[in-house]
Amino acid sequence: MNRKLENGLWRHALSLMTATALSVALVLPGATMAAPATADVSKTGLAVTDTTVTVGILHSLTGTMAISETGSVEAEKLAIDQINEMGGILGRKIEVITEDGASDWPTFAEKARKLLVQDKVATVFGCWTSASRKAALPVFEKENGLLYYPTFYEGLEQSHNVIYTGQEATQQILDGLNWVAKEKGAKTFYLIGSDYIWPRTSMKIARKHIENVLGGKVVGEEYAPLGHTQFGSIINKIRLKKPDVIYAAVVGGSNVAWFKQLKAAGITGDKQTLLTISVTEDEVLGIGGENLVGFYSIMKYFMPVENENNKKFIAAFKAKYGDDSVIGDVTQAAYLGPWLWKAAVEKAGSFDVDKVVAASPGIELTTAPEGYVKVHENHHLWSKARIGQWQADGQVKIVYESDLIEPNPFPEGYQ
């Protein structure tokens, strides 16, 4: 662990300097430099003209997932607008084709194929749930497309054709567990999640970490079917086990029922430590701040993150989408996609997927709202983890911020 961290810090420092230089160089001359010839920057028949390059956005605009994915679409469009205002990429304006995955996994695959085969887009920003990504992934691999995927997810995947701008499971989970073990002296944990792959994989990693690294004990592990709204029995089980920490990954409508019923059962933040990996500012709107007071979330980004990038980002976002817009972790990660792609394309001097992919590892973004990110060899991002404590008004107070964490989608000893 330590060596990795040191290593990371050293690289961090080094790359900060180069990145600053790079970004200065990029921002200034973009407009003045003559755009390189199309034949040079696109040899694989992508939708690139002398003045434009076409990209795709592929999220659910309708259906059950539209709630969650709307923020990502907004963030991606904001980033693309900003890039276009700065002169575009390689002298070309970005044009967007938006497709609706309709919360239906085969539709994602179908629309991905349309974007790649018919529209020949240079890259796609999209997918949200693991299921939609899993459905679309074979298409991206077969057609050799490029996907920027924004959601924090279970890991266990690494594709030539995908850049993962959210956290993989270990980045999100391990530091949070270390923190509660240290700060709260937690020894016993109760794990609860919705019944599907992300919570199950996350809980598996959490359990290994608790048992093998922290020397703690998992006193219960529980999965509720998606859409479950009655947590009475589960809450009683938790009460019987009296865990030091409840570790939760419940999603969707169940999440709201879960927190409301916790509060109604008298399990509140002042009596019980609860750490969740499935509540961002987006979810709080539905759950209600009053039901979360004192509980903790771990994410890589919360709105109050203090830095200039974030201030600008929030201001721009609110200016475009209204003052009461809320930005959650995934929305921020989605915002990174177009910027990371821009940097990689410019580094490669080409839109061709293989060249962009080859150029991607090592790409850094000092302008990220979350602070600083860097693309790892394994196509995930180096990023920080932050723990926030929820306040009654639905805002979060950041109580812990980690160092940069190396992404490790296939964590040894955790599988």
Partner: protein
Amino acid sequence: MKAIYNNLLGGRQGVIGLALLAALIFLVLPMFLDIFRLNLVGKYLTYAFAAVSLVLIWGYGGILSLGQGVFFGLGGYCMAMFLKLEASSPENTAIQSTPGIPDFMDWNQLTQLPWFWEPFNSFPFTLFAILAVPGLLAYIIGVAMFKRRVGGVYFSIITQAIAAILTILIVGQQGLTGGINGITDLKTLHGWDIRTDSAKYLLYYINGGLLIGVILLSRFILSSKLGRLLLAMRDKEDRVRFSGYDVSNFKIFIFCVAAMISAMGGAMFTLQVGFMSPSFVGIVPSIEMVIFAAVGGRMSLIGAVYGALIVNYGKTYFSETFPELWLFLMGGLFIAVVMFFPNGLAGLYEKHGKRIMEKIKSLRRKPTPPAEKTLAAGNDTSAAAREAA
């Protein structure tokens, strides 16, 4: 020969209908669509299997199964299991802690292939299972329900609950089933890459051929005495029983046949789309399948195919163009079909066709008396029945 002509092909009108459909599937669509769109049509046509099966069981049998998605899904899963095993050869999965098993099992810490996956290494067994597994489930459900004379609304609600159960099971047992993600990343069938354009063309044609075959089979069933019995049972179940028939056996039979037809669609779906997931098993897809049949005409086998094509094309088109409008349209379509066109497109065609015929006739002789008109309207179902038979 004449018997074949009349029973299988449904006489002159049936031959024309079938020929038109075959021409559309095999000639017109491939000529005008690129492979991307054609693959979509192929996907829609897999739903047509389910719609045809609903014509059998719902239109003729009067049994509204809200669980056709279950059988569609089971067929699809059987095929997906075989393809997944082929995709998970030890070489392809060398980075796993247990190479040689599907990736999602590895993530769920399974160290060996579950017993019920083993037989799916064999392609002949898989083909057998695609029909046998849904058929067996349908048989069990059928015996349990029809022998105890559960029918009508109760049957619909129970099949719906079964769809819910199977979805929860598949999602909950992700180590064995791939969970909510389903079984993905299917690549080859006996080394033949199913993702290439040529494979897609071939699969499309196989799919179309199977569909025509299924329609012929269904016609054979419906034009036999069994078909008449189904209609008889739908309207006067007691009378059939008191004519000495064991009604439940016939219901079980047609339910099993319908299940197997849906399952074929599911298997073709997996091959053409490249994955299978629990979202095709549940309540919503099952009801959508009923709508395909209702729009096409619940008494018309060929109508069901058009119903599946049109509703799905509409879904793709409108969700691309006016996503907001889509649900309104779909909902409105449900209501309109049920309230105003209970015989769907086939019924409309019948009426329209008849009117044109009448016009042609009326040019030759005096206008037909109104009495005959009402007569014709009253006989719509049987007229549609004859069209399908």
